[in-house]
């Protein structure tokens, strides 16, 4: 065992005293004199063109300070993950004409309190010409489908330098590709071919603390953004981009966050709050409702994974073909990154020498999805572990035994060509079996990740 002084000790969490006395400060406790409140007018339809946005009556309501529209945004188009080279910028802070998901914010009401802002929303005249939405990923991939992205497709283009990791000048593809060994040969050798199609549903992070943000203009032209975020520097960079301001003029402060789980990684609304603050030159606050959390904030994507495995007599997976469809919703956010990560993990903790994996980042007219705890791998682990049990049933092999046989060992090579040097699945499964009272046969007890 380790011989550390402090590491490994169950030191009491220093936050607990504040939590049990209610003195831990959260973003909702931040407030400034003269602070105004924001509410948004949101699209009632998943896809359409804004024909009319008449805010004159709302502007005259006592207590309303400003209605913020796309005209108030210095640099409207952005993409959250520009910092890792994902592009092009495909998302407006506030749309000019096109709305691409139900709930997309069209304009902001900045008023003295939330009730006034809500009353003002009722006075805003919004007309949208509805267009047929793209909601089904398989439909989205068909040539006949309406195209909702400005580059005239419903998929992210990988491999042309846009994902930041591949050199520009490569051939762009509508899918991310992993290819190793010779799958066709592996399938020729198959004793069994096992297929499966797996689907996970979009789910909400649902931290008990919703999205709340306060933006405060500072006397010297700077801006401070107080927000419960997992990535202060992401907020800083994205706000700077859309305000056309140097990042050094923007300070981001996150207090203790009331749960993140990946739902507070994207700067989903800080840009809008920043634009509002700069427009009215006063502190502004936006407290999202739980309804907005469910219907607008990012979710885990729906992901469909189709697997085809070539399996030997002994249940060893000789080769695997995978087709992965990742529902990004209306805008990129972190989805291209998520698809790449998912594809790298499609072999799971198993040794599969021949693979061909294709991952599609599909755009639909749905609230954008993004990172959630276990990003990219939650859906993959679901699919490949169900597939293992399917293989076990087909081959008549015990599900645990099957996993021991296929578990990767050190010095094998992963699907991405990486040498494996930290394998430990066999040992982990042995411990789990022990906890569950399963007596493993001798030959499994003798196996080791070291070879």
């Amino acid at each position: 065992m380790s011989s550390f002084n402090v590491l490994g000790k169950p030191v009491v969490n220093v936050q607990l005293y504040g939590h049990v006395t209610g003195s831990t400060q959260f973003i909702d406790d931040i407030s400034f004199p003269g602070m105004l409140w924001i509410k948004a007018v949101r699209s009632p339809v998943p896809r359409g063109i804004i024909k009319k946005l008449d805010t004159k009556k709302a502007e005259r309501l006592p207590g309303v300070v400003k209605i913020v529209t796309s005209k108030d945004v210095p640099n409207n188009m952005h993409v959250n993950m520009a910092v890792v080279g994902i592009g092009p910028p495909d998302e407006p802070v506030l749309p000019d004409k096109e709305v691409n998901y139900k709930g997309e914010a069209i304009c902001l009401v900045v008023a003295r309190d939330e009730e006034t802002a809500l009353k003002a929303i009722e006075l805003i005249d919004l007309e949208i010409e509805e267009l047929p939405p793209v909601l089904d990923m398989e439909e989205a991939l068909k040539p006949s489908s309406p195209k909702i992205k400005p580059w005239n497709s419903n998929t992210f283009v990988f491999g042309s330098g846009m994902d930041g990791a591949t050199p520009p000048g490569g051939q762009g593809r509508p899918y991310f590709l992993i290819k190793r060994g010779n799958v066709d040969e592996a399938f020729n050798k198959a004793r069994h071919i096992v297929e499966g199609s797996y689907l996970i549903s979009p789910i909400e992070h649902a931290p008990i603390e919703p999205h709340i943000c306060v933006a405060k203009p500072e006397p010297d032209g700077r801006l401070t953004i107080y927000t419960a975020t997992q990535a202060p520097y992401f907020v800083r960079d994205n706000v700077a981009t859309i305000l056309n301001m140097p990042p050094s003029k923007i300070r981001v402060v996150s207090p203790s966050v009331g749960g993140g789980f990946g739902g507070k990684v994207d700067p989903e609304f800080e840009m809008m709050v920043a634009v509002a603050a700069m427009a009215v030159k006063r502190p502004v606050k936006w407290r999202w409702t739980r309804e907005e959390e469910f219907t607008v904030s990012t979710t885990r994507p729906a992901v469909k994974i189709e697997l085809q495995d070539s399996v030997s007599d002994e249940g060893l997976i000789l080769g695997r073909k995978a087709r992965l469809l990742h529902d990004a919703g209306a805008y990129s956010r972190t989805s291209p990154y998520g698809v790449i990560k998912a594809c790298f993990n499609l072999s799971g903790p198993y040794n599969i020498p021949n693979v061909e994996y294709r991952g599609y980042c599909v755009f639909t007219n749905r609230q954008p999805s993004s990172a959630m705890r276990g990003y990219g791998v939650f859906e993959v682990s679901f699919a490949i572990e169900l597939q293992m049990d399917r293989i076990a049933k087909t081959c008549g092999i015990d599900p645990l035994e099957l996993r021991f046989r296929n578990a990767y060992r050190n010095n094998q090579i992963s699907a991405s060509g990486k040498l494996i040097d930290d394998a430990y699945l066999i040992e982990t499964m042995r411990e789990a079996a022990g906890l569950a009272g399963i007596n493993l046969p001798e030959h499994l007890l003798k196996m080791s990740s070291s070879g």
Partner: protein
């Protein structure tokens, strides 16, 4: 009313760090006149216990008590750049950066202490908040005294800076060849369920779950992640969906009344174990754990239901409707 029992498992791995790397972390540690330290990170305390875990790592790295370190977080003008608190990256990357910063602090402490104790830095070591002459435990001066004298007698700032990045990996566009992660952590979850054939309701009765985390920083914090992740996985497996009729937008959930989360009474009996397999990519062997703990639960439950009813439900969440439809389907097949 028949209750069918089943057991299922899932064996997983999970990468540590942002996919493909290129996600730097930095920290600055500085001392205050009374000898306590302030460590500044742009990471964020989300409830995972970052303030405590990072203080333990800094304390271990310098040779002092965690109570001697105040962790300031989340402010872009109080801490240098950190990529963000996600992708199970913080403890791994930040601890490497903290260790580097600690080495600078230690060097300053040893230099100043060597002047106070009239010896050479190589004769000294730091442990338990004291600077000892090696092998002579009662010849020491406290770190607090050294730090105070450093600033007010020897005119030396006591500041350390640390930086860590896993360099960004290239990706071959035709094969996907790349170095996507620093290291892999592992997990295995075995689940026992009861399926009510009349209502379709799945009850998880027992969970046996093991996670390999590289190196344990704080068992309480790891337990918090395991149990919390388990219950999050339980909801994802059985009840949670924002679009119940996906891909249709119909019945989109708008409240906790419609979006069903587990409550205290829904938690099964849990037996867990945390094991270690230190990684060479971190100074202490630490791997990320915060996300992996969700991923092994839903497939284990799905496989347990498969074992119980003989039909594999391949779509989440495994609602009573889906179970009843699967049982109907099975009856039709057996009747043919």
């Amino acid at each position: 009313m028949v209750k069918l029992r089943g057991r299922g498992l899932a064996a997983i791995n999970y990468p540590t760090g942002m996919n493909l790397g290129g996600d730097p972390s930095q920290t600055i540690i500085f001392a205050q006149p009374d000898g306590r330290f302030v460590m500044c990170v742009a990471s964020v305390e989300l409830g995972q216990g970052l303030r405590t875990a990072l203080a333990q790592i800094a304390a271990e790295s310098i040779g002092i008590d965690p109570e001697q370190i105040e962790v300031r977080f989340g402010d872009t003008e109080m801490a240098p750049h950190d990529t963000g608190t996600f992708a199970s990256r913080t403890t791994h990357r930040m601890s490497n950066a903290i260790f580097a910063a600690a080495q600078e602090i230690k060097q300053i402490i040893l230099d100043v202490a060597s002047k106070i104790m009239e010896t050479t830095p190589s004769d000294l070591e730091i442990s338990n908040g004291k600077v000892y002459v090696k092998g002579v435990p009662d010849k020491f001066v406290t770190v607090q005294e050294v730090v105070n004298k450093a600033q007010f007698v020897y005119n030396t700032p006591v500041v350390g800076k640390g930086f860590y990045v896993k360099p960004k990996s290239s990706v071959d566009p035709d094969t996907g060849e790349a170095d996507p992660h620093s290291t892999m952590a592992h997990g295995c979850t075995i689940v026992d369920v009861e399926v009510d054939t009349e209502t379709g309701i799945v009850t998880v009765t027992d969970v046996y779950t093991v996670y390999e985390v590289g190196r344990i920083v704080n068992k309480n914090l790891v337990e918090g992640q395991i149990i919390g992740g388990l219950v999050m996985g339980l909801g994802a497996a059985l009840t949670e969906t924002v679009y119940p009729r996906y891909p249709s937008l119909d019945y989109q959930t708008t409240s906790f009344q419609e979006y069903v989360l587990p409550t205290a009474g829904d938690v099964p009996r849990i037996r867990y174990k945390i094991i270690e397999n230190p990684t060479a990519t971190n100074v202490f062997g630490i791997k990320g754990v915060g996300e992996m703990v969700v991923n092994s639960i839903a497939p284990a439950i799905a496989n347990a239901v498969y074992n119980a009813i003989g039909v594999q439900i391949t779509e989440l969440p495994i609602t009573p409707e889906k179970v009843l439809r699967a049982l109907e389907q099975k009856k039709e097949v057996t009747n043919k």
